[in-house]
């Protein structure tokens, strides 16, 4: 019997544009997997010929989630090119903004983008709220949003939503799938946290906005420093940050951490989440200046899952291959010389488990994402990579946090190299960041007592050529921006984003990237409801750069709402 093909498009719960196709054998075990980004990203072309001081502001428009990450990367790549060092205050503010972003981003990722792969909402509606309320104490000494009355109210609220026919976010998952492992009571605890997280994420956004100057697009970073001088010198602003920080940290400690411990218990023997790491090379950038002498995370990479050896990153070994990507060019290029010339070849007709459809032709080009390689090897990036690299480096904070989690859950170190481990790593990274964000804050408060500089002056010599890059850690993994400046303008610009590392297609040698490798060997309960695939891919936190946001009315006739140019008297 030949393999059958399963197409999932799009795979992301909210941020779209990712398509996954898998071939399953007669036992529904995945034999091959293909990852395709279906949206073209043209930021590189738009940036050419522009003022390098605007690179960050334009780059932040790549995405609706990674705004700050690209903003900061664009600013710091240009600083690197021009040889500018931002003042200590500026670096701390950027670090603090980054911490605020992570605390927001990872909470939203787990609850709103990934949570329903683990939590069966329908099951939660049948839970006993009193039993669930007691059970919550097993996972946290101080559980949050799990009082009996609160849990009853959660059931009521969700039920009335469902009864109105407005399934909303709950319409997408595969309720009742046998690989859902939480008990009804555990599902109810997590569902209550899902709703609580909707409230907490607002506080997190406000926390970020304090030093981001303007909302919703941060404006406070400039090449050379930051502009939020008055904010960092204002005791009111500082204490406001601290109040909001406490609320978000509280949720991370008492809900997010507890739910992952609960998941480790419930899913510790569920086969479909105990694989999912096919590429065992991990790459991480550095991040989070805590003070003048210490960063929370260091950069580096490990190979073949070997935690006994860690290597330093050499920029020149980062290259991108476009053999199977919809771009012209045969050479594997370093990003400084990267070319972004589209060569779209589309999909072909084929058979799938849901009948005839357009499918990927894997022998040709099949994705808008390039395939980045480090020293010709595929690398996984993201929170798991960050923790593994730092664990291998002997980073005490990371070793202690990871060690405590493994001890508490009774899992071996090997359990980190799984889908469950990847999801747990994101929580552990969030916990490390939220525990240490206050150190960044204190460093800033201490330093502004004697030093209020936030900006380093610079000049761009239009007769000179410059090149520079930013490489660092952002919520979805290692991000790099690469810029060449000539005649005072951007000559070439490339962004190698985390999801590119993870979601990229095969390279010229046929080496597959982390997504494609992670799915091979995965057994599906029902290929027409491939929840297991979603869970593995969502554990990477996919975010295909570039959002397009046409409001799509999905078959609803709008003719009655059409504005008639004649009757309204508009002259056009």
């Amino acid at each position: 019997m030949t393999n059958r093909r399963v197409v999932i498009d799009p795979i992301t719960r909210i941020e779209g544009h990712l398509r996954i196709e898998v071939e399953v054998d007669e036992n529904n075990v995945v034999q091959k997997a293909y990852s395709s980004s279906t949206l073209w990203r043209g930021i590189e072309l738009i940036l050419k010929g522009r003022d390098p001081r605007d690179a960050g502001l334009m780059a932040q428009r790549i995405c609706g989630v990674c705004t700050y990450s690209h903003y900061k990367a664009g600013v710091e790549a240009v600083e690197n090119a021009l040889g500018i060092e931002a003042p200590y205050n500026a670096k701390l503010v950027r670090s603090l903004l980054n911490a605020s972003l992570y605390m927001h981003d990872h909470v939203v990722q787990f609850y709103h983008l990934h949570g329903l792969d683990w939590v069966d909402v329908v099951s939660a509606l049948s839970a006993d709220p009193e039993a669930a309320s007691k059970l919550a104490f097993k996972y946290s000494d101080l559980p949050i949003a799990t009082g009996t009355d609160e849990l009853k109210a959660v059931q009521q609220r969700v039920k009335s939503f469902v009864d109105k026919g407005q399934l909303g976010p709950f319409a997408n998952a595969y309720w009742g799938n046998g690989t859902y492992k939480f008990s009804p009571e555990q599902n109810l605890i997590a569902l209550s946290h899902y709703l609580k997280a909707l409230e907490v994420q607002r506080v997190a956004a406000q926390m970020f906005a304090i030093f981001g100057a303007k909302q919703p697009h941060p404006q406070s970073l400039v090449v050379g420093g930051v502009t939020c001088v008055r904010d960092i010198l204002s005791p009111t602003r500082l204490s406001s940050w601290r109040e909001k920080y406490k609320i978000v940290k509280d949720f991370i400690d008492r809900a997010y951490q507890a739910d992952i411990v609960m998941a480790a218990e419930a899913y510790g023997t569920e086969e479909s989440v105990l694989g999912g790491v096919g590429v065992k090379n991990f790459l991480a950038g550095d991040a989070f200046m805590l003070n003048r002498s210490e960063n929370l995370f260091q950069s580096g990479y490990i190979k073949n899952g070997d935690l006994s050896q860690v290597f330093d990153i050499d920029d020149t070994k980062i290259k991108e291959d476009v053999t199977h990507a919809w771009y012209k060019g045969a050479d594997t290029l370093q990003p400084y010389d990267g070319v972004t010339e589209p060569d779209y070849t589309g999909f072909v007709d084929g058979d799938t488990v849901n009948g005839q459809a357009k499918i990927i032709d894997e022998s040709k080009k099949y994705s808008w994402v390039k395939a980045p390689r480090y020293d010709n090897e595929a690398m996984e990036v993201g929170p798991l990579a960050c923790l593994l690299v730092n664990y291998a480096r002997g980073n005490k904070k990371v070793q202690s946090e990871v060690g405590a989690f493994l001890k508490r859950t009774g899992l071996p170190v090997g359990a980190l190299f799984t889908t469950l481990g990847r999801t747990a790593a994101r929580m552990l990274q969030t916990k490390l960041i939220s525990d240490n964000a206050i150190t960044i804050f204190d460093s800033l408060v201490e330093n502004i007592k004697t030093d209020d500089s936030t900006y380093t002056k610079f000049e761009i010599d239009s007769s000179k050529e410059y090149m520079g890059r930013f490489i660092g850690e952002v919520p979805r993994g290692t991000l790099s921006h690469w810029v060449r400046i000539k005649n005072g303008l951007i000559e070439n610009y490339q962004a190698v984003v985390p999801t590119t590392w993870n979601a990229g297609p095969m390279d010229a040698k046929g080496t597959v990237g982390p997504y494609e490798a992670s799915l091979v060997g995965l057994k599906l309960e029902d290929p027409t409801k491939p929840l297991e695939v979603l869970r593995v891919i969502h554990s990477f936190d996919p975010c295909m750069a570039c959002s397009v946001h046409v409001i799509d009315m999905k078959g609803v006739e709008l003719s009655e709402f059409k504005v008639n140019p004649m009757s309204s008297g508009a002259a056009c």
Binding site: I14, G42, I46, R61, G168, P169, H217, H549, M553, V563
Partner: protein
């Protein structure tokens, strides 16, 4: 009452950016007078991250691109979000439905303000330049008229302060000059 006019879209993608360009155009061209407070904000493509801003308002007017059966490029639609049936498809599609999903998430918490949506049908959605197709640019006067007429029903008068050509807005929208100061 506090009213928010929220421009949505990705200005790296031609017509996709019309929501943002349009609110920048309106903000430059008019002062608004009346008893209510009116704010104009560039929401970009931030979706969920706009919730903390949106909840501070009693009335929300979203300006975005739109797609539906039978629509033609350059047409303008204006409607109450509550007047259309459950259109939010969480499976997504080739185009995203993020803004609508965000509104539903607000319903889950129960604090979404009254929401009007003005959508214009785009033609060009690809990354090239900060530009608009002729069809969408031609729709701007109708969008403008529709918005001002609606604001009038809320007792808000638009007073023109200067003449603005939308072409002069396009290359500068990325600076978010009508951003919301927190």
């Amino acid at each position: 009452m506090k009213i928010l006019v929220l421009g949505i879209g990705n200005l790296l993608f031609g017509d996709e950016g019309i929501g943002v360009h349009f609110i920048n155009y309106i903000g430059k061209k008019y002062d608004f007078e009346g008893e209510h407070r009116l704010d104009i904000v560039d929401g970009g493509t931030l979706a969920q991250r706009l919730i903390p801003i949106i909840v501070e308002y009693d009335h929300l007017i979203i300006i975005d691109t739109i797609n539906a059966p039978g629509v033609k490029a350059g047409e303008v639609y204006f409607f109450d979000f509550d007047a259309v049936p459950d259109v939010v498809d969480w499976q997504g599609s080739a185009h995203e439905v993020e803004m609508l999903q965000t509104l539903t998430m607000m319903d889950l918490v129960g604090d979404r303000p009254h929401t009007m949506i003005m959508g214009v049908v785009p033609t060009v959605i690809e990354a090239t330049e900060f530009s608009l197709s002729q069809g969408v640019e031609n729709a701007v006067p109708l969008m403008e008229k529709t918005l001002l007429a609606y604001l009038k029903t809320l007792d808000i008068d638009a007073v023109q302060k200067t003449q603005v050509d939308i072409q002069t807005i396009l290359p500068n929208s990325f600076r978010a000059f009508d951003a919301y100061s927190i």
